[in-house]
Symmetry: C2
Amino acid sequence: MVGSVGQASMDLREKVEPLPEEFDPKEISGPADSAPNGILGSGDGKNREIVLGRNVHKMCFAINEPEADDEVTGEREAYMASVLARYRKSLVERTKHHLGYPYNLDFDYGALNQLQHFSINNLGDPFIESNYGVHSRQFEVGVLDWFARLWELERSEYWGYITNCGTEGNLHGLLVGREVFPDGMLYASRESHYSVFKAARMYRMECIKVDTLVSGEIDCKDFRNKLVQNKGKPAIVNVNIGTTVKGAVDDLDMVIQTLEESGFRDRFYIHCDGALFGLMMPFVKRAPKVTFKKPIGSVSVSGHKFVGCPMPCGVQITRLEHIKVLSSNVEYLASRDSTIMGSRNGHAPIFLWYTLNRKGYRGFQKEVQKCLRNAHYLKDRLKAAGVGAMLNELSSTVVFERPKDEEFVRRWQLACEGNIAHIVVMPNVTIEKLDTFLNELIQKRSSWYEGGKIPSPCLAADIGDENCLCSLHQK
Amino acid sequence: MVGSVGQASMDLREKVEPLPEEFDPKEISGPADSAPNGILGSGDGKNREIVLGRNVHKMCFAINEPEADDEVTGEREAYMASVLARYRKSLVERTKHHLGYPYNLDFDYGALNQLQHFSINNLGDPFIESNYGVHSRQFEVGVLDWFARLWELERSEYWGYITNCGTEGNLHGLLVGREVFPDGMLYASRESHYSVFKAARMYRMECIKVDTLVSGEIDCKDFRNKLVQNKGKPAIVNVNIGTTVKGAVDDLDMVIQTLEESGFRDRFYIHCDGALFGLMMPFVKRAPKVTFKKPIGSVSVSGHKFVGCPMPCGVQITRLEHIKVLSSNVEYLASRDSTIMGSRNGHAPIFLWYTLNRKGYRGFQKEVQKCLRNAHYLKDRLKAAGVGAMLNELSSTVVFERPKDEEFVRRWQLACEGNIAHIVVMPNVTIEKLDTFLNELIQKRSSWYEGGKIPSPCLAADIGDENCLCSLHQK
């Protein structure tokens, strides 16, 4: 019986009709020993080994074999509807309290509901037609053109595609770099996204970690030293347009200058990881310009971050000439195999196309300005309340003292690293939301530190003396 | 003016208000020279170099900067609505005529519409909780449990995640293999999916192509010879549970036996690429069983194929012990970085959970039986009409003479290779649809070959003498 939600995850296998001989579930090792414990429960009897972080295996909506009469009674449908309704409620709640991740949750794609039930797949290269007709390449190419224009690469000279996430962009950009310089060494600041180091491992590239400044930017002095030590091999460089934790923007011009001055003229490939700020930077005054008029090889940006999209996605733009290198020697394929993934989500390009078309360059510019304004507001209010905080000039990421209570961190979905937490101010983060957060933080904090009797931690090493407000650095 | 659809893609930049100084579109190289030519037109003036296949850059829905008064007039909304309505119509048409790709287009996810506007992201490892609260890990783990049970791996001993597509599954499985045996050589039959060879290149693994039988299965005699020549290094083997073109299933038991007899006991890792048939095989009588009770390391399957899902996705299951190898040495991460992608689509797990829960093992079994029946019907009718055709015993992929007319191929979205085309009979492919296709093919074919005056091509090399119906092999 599936009728009662409380019993829903009960193991039904003892009751179901035996399956035909070629598939007998009794032969299958599984959680036969599990005790039912409510919708969320599907405990496995044994303790699963926990490897770093909190293992959530026990939090799962189990899939149970339908009863033979389920279609008649409708009980299964009712059970599933109840799971989904509860889940929806939790999503509403979790979406409301969300500050730590750079996802713009402010979008309305109602007009696209009509397309949701199609299996849209942009198999392989967006510029090569496939016989699979249910695709959205027309939208994808439109989006790519928009980004190529933003980053100043001629339509006849660029290649790109819409990826599944920022990681895929980095995997692609660095692979292109490696194919252009097979014996190149990878240089990346230690505050680069972890996918950069994952790429190095996957691709068996030698990887050199470069130090960072307190701001989170790459330290070009250290970069120069490391280049000089490895003059024999070309350099493949990951440049961060907004680091994950501090939102720091590496100085692209100084990186290029350092390379050239260290004798790497024509022997380097630069990939710009613009996961978050790749789309914001063009609209910020004084920001170093990301453009293919400079000697860069590729730029990637996430689509679900600043643009906002119900599923992760990203945009990858590179030079067409590099793709020729990547797709040479592909004797086994009648087509060009130039994407990391094969089947590709065809809905994401339509979401992006829809937003870009509605907002335009000007719309984004307005939103960027709003985010920067709100980020300054947050930083100022934090510091006024005695909380150490930092905001990089070109960034909407506010870094501050890590809240002492993990429950509070989870409630607001803050991303933390060591002593610091951050809030990425996206278009959906309003002053009202920030005020609610600030008021709650200030109140809680007063109890954590007993109104100042217990000293708050020193953050000078993380955010600099001038931003730290511990008893030592407070002026 | 965006009002007229015909003029919609006209370059508007000459008319828009100048953007603020930090972003001047005039500085941007772009398609300023393009001539408007209807919705689909956004010709770029220059000829883009065409590299293999048909370049579709000219087929694109351009994104134009909104007019200043667009919000007032509503013209932009109207334009976009018209593009979407036309596109929807074309999707309906293209979905109807679709036979070549193994995507089950028969699904109804209406109940999930309520979740579409949430930004659901299952960042990283499904078993490690992230602070980002808008996820669907509970559903994902439920789906993974279901598959682990199907392939007979204890809940406490498996690890897995929901991928973006079959390619990601292969990339993951082969990466795990390489990390387990860093100096291992990759063996894959030449009819393996191209992502296997892409992985070899990405991962810098030595790759040995093994011959195939006419059926498309791996030739274990050739496999043995190649193993013996490379005894010094461990073997990482890709086993196809359904090849892309012929739907051939490699004989897993014979592959294992060959490895053991060639002295590779304990020095091999097997990844099973079950993109399509990984989910069908368990329900087919006489099929070699894919199970972790045999010495295999990982299995991957696509979620958008047999299950059906509006976006590409897949399931990857491996042994927990291997993941420990993969995630060692990850000093830069506070968490376990064990997935290929970082941000992961949280909607796909819900779609899969929904279908698995509704259909259950028994539901899938019924559908598999229906597909096999319909595939036999198709093959029999083709041969009765004098068209050379082959259907592997464990498969629903019917391979047959490539239609002579490319327009016909495109209309039915057939995948072709050399002299052959194939139809993958999925649950949404009904007898009626097959009849429509067959009648059309038979009629067209009669004109292509002038009622038999022109001989049809010999397919013996592709599908075997016994399946070829050319004048030489016809009995």
